[in-house]
Symmetry: C2
Subunit: 404 residues, 2 copies
Amino acid sequence: MINIAVLGYGTVGSGVVEVINTNHKSINKRAGEEIRIKYVLDLRDFPGDPVQEILVHDYEIIINDPEVDIIVEVMGGIEPAHTFVKRALMAGKSVCTSNKALVAKYGPELMEIAREKDINFLFEASCGGGIPIIRALNSSLTADEIDEITGILNGTTNYMLYKMSTEGCGFETALKEAQEKGYAEADPTADVEGYDACRKIAILSSLAYGKFLNYEDIYTEGITKLTPEDMEYAKELGMTIKLLATSRKIGEDSFYAMVAPFLIGQDSPLYSVNDVFNGIFVHGNVLGDAMFYGSGAGKLPTASAVVADVVDEARHLHRNLMTNWNSRPLKLMELDEVKGRFFVRVKGTTVEDVEKVFGKVKVVNLKNLPGEFAFITESMKQGEYKEKAKMLNGSIKAMIRVKD
Amino acid sequence: MINIAVLGYGTVGSGVVEVINTNHKSINKRAGEEIRIKYVLDLRDFPGDPVQEILVHDYEIIINDPEVDIIVEVMGGIEPAHTFVKRALMAGKSVCTSNKALVAKYGPELMEIAREKDINFLFEASCGGGIPIIRALNSSLTADEIDEITGILNGTTNYMLYKMSTEGCGFETALKEAQEKGYAEADPTADVEGYDACRKIAILSSLAYGKFLNYEDIYTEGITKLTPEDMEYAKELGMTIKLLATSRKIGEDSFYAMVAPFLIGQDSPLYSVNDVFNGIFVHGNVLGDAMFYGSGAGKLPTASAVVADVVDEARHLHRNLMTNWNSRPLKLMELDEVKGRFFVRVKGTTVEDVEKVFGKVKVVNLKNLPGEFAFITESMKQGEYKEKAKMLNGSIKAMIRVKD
């Protein structure tokens, strides 16, 4: 029997309890032993809920119980999660977590303690909800040098962009719908400003490239400035707009990463990742293109990933599952040096004037937007784009990057 | 140092050697030890190729060398692969293989020997080429009860259907193009008749449901009867036609499986799996929908999966990685009992007559095909469909199942 404790009985925590209860037969078979939830930690009480019988309010009971083998941290936030997790690992208890903020900030420290203690710190649910991308990077794509990860990593904004694209509504309406459906929180900043996706791409990149990418180093732009007109232009081009979190290895020690809205074409497998779904595209030097698709959030998909970590830790109770991520910092190149194509909307200028500055461009017009047009540049460094943009003397209404 | 021997220096075998040479640094890091190819077995010689130095023609050299820890079987076919693999496992050497025919036929026997000897028999590359679906089923989706797997598992036929759909060409033209591009073999039977996909869905289903699904029990229908007109109807419906290999768990001990062309709609993530790519859709009772996408074949993607197995075996040299698959047979329900919708093309009859038999149907006409029309039935058992079809007195030109 393997005893676990669940820290936090919120959405994910109650999902973990539900998944373990629902699928206990197959989970125990796969773990090789019976998984038993010995404690649930929460400050609140849940009268009437069977969880009340195993509920404790004091972490000391859990950390001091030698029978507890695995601790599931699903409280979220940095504190007290960090203190609790660190103490658990120091005490020789494996930990799994869905907490992307914790992993993005303290991942290397916590993995290092787990390595020293020959136990495990796993975090499958921290990126892409139920999509098994972390385990794929750790133990499946091991023959490859990964040179690109590009993901739709935030379900809320993907839902909003999908609504804006299919229904022609604006940002505010899409946000309201997302909030009504429970996809967006009352304060949607972390989602719509790209901060959530930023932490996730930091974690995935650190695993893929084997160094620690600090999320604070990543250029991050949200979706708040996108308009229904941008979506119309995208459609006219046979493309769509997605919030992508992307990182690439350009050379032996040369990387870039960013979170921003991108125009993407139908030849990308990410093009059809709609609604609240997430998709994570990976390119390996021998594998080629691969994509992982699934529910990026939600109580049960996230809990499914957490419990898969529990099963893995139960199978490897005193045996560290190596990861490729160490604490050496991964340095990013200057964004101005990154090459790409740019979609630009302009007003009060002419194609002739634009081409004087940008050279040959691909022009697109919308019938219902007279007096303005848009164009897509050739590939150029971002710094070069900025210089040229200045020369158009304020006629630029919007710029969106194009995914190549 | 971990010594491996590669059996077969064909497409995949030479790919394995190339991948290990190209990415040796990161592979060794992930394996935790240096991986060294000590032998390559082939009946042929390869003068001028560096492999010649480690080439042997006699399997006895390999099996009798106690330094060989892992054997990579990439010869294909049943014999001598089966004998070689079985002897290797009996001798305590872990084996990985890309050989779907071997796994579909002898999987349970070989896994059982590996379990007894506390070594491993892995076969990531046998299904879906470079897509890490086997490891996902074995070690990621462990919190779930999988209740559906539906895959585009054959790149050759997917390429052909994509050509037929986008270029309007017929089966023969598409086949010729596939052969010219090296996607289809001179004898394309295994691909176009669905036999290849059938073995793959048998393996995936056995892993997902934990019992042995004999591929010979699976109803299998290829793509040879599909026409450009079928594709046109699909387009008119906003759908497309794919060769799907699918299995479902309907009740506690009730399963069905089949390989056949299906009409699928744009709401399915498999809809956009085009060209030679493969896609594998999985539904879990807590995970919900997930899809894995990538190169289903090709030298390097397949070799990438084989080498990932080598790394996993190197990490777990004398520790069996459990699988959920055992040798109890998985019994399928009668196909006539399986429910679904049917797309039917008819000539020489009327909507009125059709609806007398089938009840309300969805009708679709093509301008360029006067005198005929098509319809989609409500959901019904296949046996019921067959009975009703008889009543239309030979006016049915074609029937294709609809994916729900």
